[in-house]
Symmetry: C3
Subunit: 154 residues, 3 copies
């Protein structure tokens, strides 16, 4: 039995991987904010072109999609399609009692591939490169989920 205690190396491995992924995800929100401020646009709601202290010279063009802002929103959407499932699957996985080395390899490799995928997406590398960097993370997610399922029904 894995004890949900930071002294347990399996649980500590989970906490390190999970918190790094959450920080990565939250930073997409802030990166969106930064780019909206830099571009003075890329807004989404009709009320965002009301005159305010932060938007002293509003214009309807501020509601048009902005390439630099939309790129971060696509990255954030890709996070949403992957990270919430990883965060739960990885918790279940460490509770299913895998070997420590296996948990460390898989969870930390997941973190690394997501950071590389982010770097490739941010700098507009090819679709092939993005696919190459997304695939191992998705396979790790499937593997740890199947492992836990088999452990639960065995």
């Amino acid at each position: 039995m894995t004890v949900l205690n930071l002294d347990d190396p399996l649980f500590a491995t989970y906490v390190i991987a999970a918190t790094l992924m959450i920080l990565k995800a939250v930073s997409m929100s802030w990166l969106t904010v930064i780019r909206m401020m830099q571009e003075n646009g890329g807004f989404r709601s009709p009320e965002d072109i009301r005159k305010t202290p932060f938007n002293p010279a509003p214009s309807p063009a501020q509601l048009a999609p902005n390439d630099r802002v939309e790129r971060i929103r696509r990255i954030q959407m890709n996070d949403l399609e992957n990270l919430p499932y990883f965060l739960v699957a990885a918790l279940i996985f460490v509770l299913a009692g895998p070997p420590l080395w296996l948990a460390q390899v898989l969870l930390y490799a997941y973190v690394v591939t997501r950071v590389l995928h982010f770097a490739a997406y941010l700098t507009a590398q090819t679709h092939d490169m993005r696919a190459l960097l997304w695939t191992p993370g998705s396979l790790i997610l499937i593997f740890i989920t199947l492992w836990s399922l088999v452990a639960a029904i065995a």
Copy 2:
């Protein structure tokens, strides 16, 4: 060690904050349903303009974006960009053994700022106001995540 038992006040604090946030998130789905029925539109799939008992007089205009429905979808999207990460980060945080008062202040403050953010978004307050109400929740999320990461690697 925090025991995952409702008699543990740290875990009970988590459960109260988490369930309130989940109920908030789920109610966005129902609010979308209600507004689609009120507006008789804001649908998304081509098959949604087939004639059915609930849609006896279909029209292609029902697939056009509807402002009142799209507002709820934007609020729901904002929830998705924040709540799943909070739900996992807050669980890890209470397992990392923070002082009870700190967990109560941070988790309940998070809930309050999300409800206020929702109220501001629903009533189309300014972008500045929305940003003001989103920021403390995001900072709380970053704080509890960093706290847990530091506790895991210390």
Copy 3:
């Protein structure tokens, strides 16, 4: 107290339901990949129409929304609006110590309704049918969340 151990039938019930839902969600990503390859389009980023080994004859039409790809993206979005909340709510629910039969009925029924909802969406059944298959899952989610909240404050 529920022990987070696969020998505990409540926790095993959670793990089975949760892992099945995660596998379902992850397969939407792969189904999107498959359809983008079949359609040779439905891409989203400007760099996706660069010439690469996987895209030897790029064209701007590849960035246009593709019906078969967009359908999977809508299904994936519906998963996102539901599954992350279910995954956390169901974990909290089993920790709140419900009767085993109740947890089994509710969590497995949730899984079944989500699979049926997917089948209806994939085959473009009517909006009425989709609503009929979405509703019980959402009510189960609300029920298990309220149960946990009441257990925490009682």
